[in-house]
Symmetry: C2
Subunit: 477 residues, 2 copies
């Protein structure tokens, strides 16, 4: 069950974790994967953290058709151009060739905006705040489990508003929701910013993003929130009668986060031993390994295990008891590889001494291990889970901050991005130059980070001209 060390081959390390920790399984369907129970439970925990936040901010879930008539997709020119190359098309159904081919949704703006045009009549119908949990299909050439698959699971929010201000506030609010989830539940210190024109969503006025730094220094776009202006409203004729009796186009937004987040979790927290899961979203928060040599010790140990896990269950700590016939050493390695935050070991001597051994996954070496009393164990475990959650976030934040480097020449830029770091630069919006940088270095414009902007201007690292914005560039997934 040993995995390739991260330092040796990051890509192989990633795949090893995905398959050996049973997060996913390869499928023979091109570009698709099977999400196995351990991976799916992680996704369910991500879902519930997001769904709660969506509902708290006034959104409701709905469900729209999987198939989109080809003609809908044509209505927004930039949108269809962006998605055309990666569409899967149903041409036969019920034994007959279809008159109009149906597109398997790559995203649902068009079909949802079509519905909005029927539903929205007056200002009373606004804002309309919907979310959908769904599968979407984008026919990708190169696929990686969780990071880029032809079919993936996600949520897509779609909202309509009476004013530009409200729609822009919604766009910002939902990016905040993503960042809040990423930081506080997935322990990923994402950076919020705005995408360049070249990297924005096809059909958006602008796209905002949360960008995460993986352990190899590459960036992973982990969620996006788009301000769509009136682009889709005009394409789908979504108008409302305002209080002033005028018919106006609505302003819309959309925002999405996908199973890619599972990849972000793996590559933000993992180490050479495997996965490390933040307790808040871990399917198993504590694994209990009973240790006994003779069969007559079994019931003694298991009685205590039952007593302790009953306490865990009562307070909602997610636990698993590994009473399989593998050796303790095998189990320790296996559960470390699977990223369970805490391991509890208990043997006959521990029972005798009313103690247990706790080993935390976020720390290496001797400090990871502690002998604790069975009295108040639930509280001890709960506190340790909180501590691990905070520590994983801190480790990731330190890693991130030590790998963002300010550069002001192209030479330095190249060294930095080649070293797997992020370049913080002064930049003027320019798609052509961005393309040049990508072609020459493979690094892309990740975002104009909101929190790193500075007053005044600085020197554009590429052109030497005065530039008015701070941008982050790096290699990316």
């Amino acid at each position: 069950m040993a995995i390739t060390p991260m330092s040796e081959n990051f890509s192989k390390w990633y795949n090893d974790i995905v398959y050996k920790a049973d997060l996913a399984s390869q499928s023979e369907v091109r570009g698709s994967m099977i999400i196995k129970p351990y991976g799916y439970e992680l996704w369910e925990n991500i879902k519930s953290g997001l769904d709660y936040r969506f509902k708290e901010t006034g959104h409701k879930n709905a469900y729209f058709p999987l198939f989109i008539p080809e003609s809908y997709l044509q209505k927004e020119a930039e949108h269809v151009e962006g998605f055309s190359p990666e569409l899967a098309v149903v041409t036969i159904a019920g034994g007959k060739e279809l008159e109009e081919p149906l597109i398997v949704r790559p995203t649902s703006e068009t079909i949802i905006m079509h519905a909005f045009s029927n539903w929205i009549q007056s200002y009373r119908d606004l804002p309309l705040l919907l979310n959908q949990w769904a599968n979407v299909v984008r026919w990708e050439l190169r696929t990686r489990p969780f990071l880029r698959t032809s079919e993936f699971l996600w949520q897509e929010g779609h909202t309509a508003h009476a004013t530009q201000t409200e729609a822009e506030e919604e766009t910002a609010q939902m990016l905040d929701v993503y960042a809040d989830f990423a930081i506080n539940e997935a322990a990923i210190p994402v950076i919020q910013g705005r995408k360049s024109v070249r990297e924005k969503f096809a059909g958006a006025v602008y796209t905002t993003t949360i960008e995460a730094m993986m352990r190899d220094g590459k960036a992973l776009q982990s969620g996006t929130s788009h301000y769509l202006g009136q682009n889709f409203a005009k394409a789908f004729d979504i108008r409302f009668l305002d209080k002033d009796q005028e018919r106006k186009y609505v302003y819309t937004t959309s925002w999405g986060l996908s199973t890619r987040m599972v990849g972000a979790v793996i590559m933000t927290h993992g180490d050479d031993k495997g996965l490390r899961l933040p307790p808040v979203i871990a399917p198993i928060q504590i694994v209990v390994v009973p240790i006994y040599r003779k069969e007559e010790q079994r019931s003694l140990v298991m009685d205590t295990v039952d007593k302790l896990t009953a306490q865990f269950k009562a307070v909602g700590i997610r636990f698993h008891v590994d009473d399989s016939d593998q050796s303790p050493g095998y189990k320790f390695n296996d559960w470390e590889m699977r990223g369970v935050p805490i391991r509890l070991e208990i043997g006959p001597k521990d029972v005798e001494k009313n103690q247990a051994v706790l080993v935390r996954r976020d720390i290496d070496g001797r400090d990871a291990k502690s002998f604790v009393s069975q009295d108040g164990l639930v509280e001890t475990v709960q506190n340790m889970l909180v501590d691990i959650q905070a520590n994983l976030l801190q480790q990731a934040t330190e890693f991130r901050d030590s790998n963002i480097v300010e550069v002001d020449t192209y030479n330095d830029f190249k060294s930095v991005v080649d070293a797997g770091q992020w370049a913080k630069v002064w930049w003027n919006e320019n798609s052509d130059l961005e393309k040049q940088v990508k072609n020459e270095t493979t690094a892309t414009h990740r975002c104009y980070p909101f929190d790193l902007q500075e007053e005044g201007t600085g020197k554009n690292f590429l052109t030497g001209e005065a530039a008015d914005q701070i941008a982050l560039f790096s290699k990316a997934y």
Copy 2:
């Protein structure tokens, strides 16, 4: 907002409820519908009731690809024959014609069994107990919202076992899970039974079912659990090394329940005024209608509303405050139509008297209304919700029992099924005669009900011969 009375036109009554209560919306995509927030929340509550039961019985969720290579589907002869006429087929992806067309899953036995054949090696891997929440597509000629749509949402369980006994026990257990959910959460007194050979799932050894009686007397198959024997194991070569060192084929089951259940809820409990929702699954359990004429009364009333709803929130009662500018009369009718179990009315005089008015949806006339103290209101409401839940089940059970009629001649059979009742008959398994009955009466074999079987034999209502099983026949959705 008035709906067509059930007695006038049941089918129109059903559609009126679906669209006017905002459960779903028509979509221009052939045979598809949009599930609107109120309908989706009902489905979410159904999902959580089932998901909890699946996990309690040891199942885990996973996710398999949407697209199935055509060759997989061919492997089980009866299965492909059953599903061929209603398949949607992707022939183009990423701008190119595919070498092998991909089927949009109509059900996932084939792709999941293909995975099982890779995953299952030894008896240690068994039983394998998985469930998937997903969308599936079956190209239907005639569609009805929730009852029969080209795309629908469902769960499909798929399990593999070492022995026939275990697999048959699983099949029975999951039917019990469905029945337990239907009866105790959806308040639908389903009848459990086995399908005839003609009506079984394509590829199953046998199919068990929960059948519900709608208010027009028609049956609705509401969930099915299939014993698949070794049919799929042999088609996909799923073998395991048993303890005796022999390689054996596994035994598999599958079981599914879909958004059809929403249709079952509507047609089991609805009345001429509209929907009536069982409290356990109702998106809104109590709607609060503040009543005041003058604006200065508003804050007085709303202060009390806020106080009371804070109490509801604290204990998890799902409430909605309707403070819109419609008249109270309009609101009463509208929320009755939407099936909310309890309406709470409160005006300035009620505030003064420390009381509130509760109106329950399950009872007609004056008895529905009660004046209750604001002291202990939470408990009053909770008790009333329990009472409504029980009463809806009782009403539906009485309706069901008074509409199952024993018949032993074909003439009586015809009168009974034409009158919208179920015929309870003696029957010998015979697909040809079943087909004849269907052609002549439109009634179908619903099931051999487990709890209505009798010792010995009786007279087959059609042939007059001695028959060994009790069957239920009726018209059906």
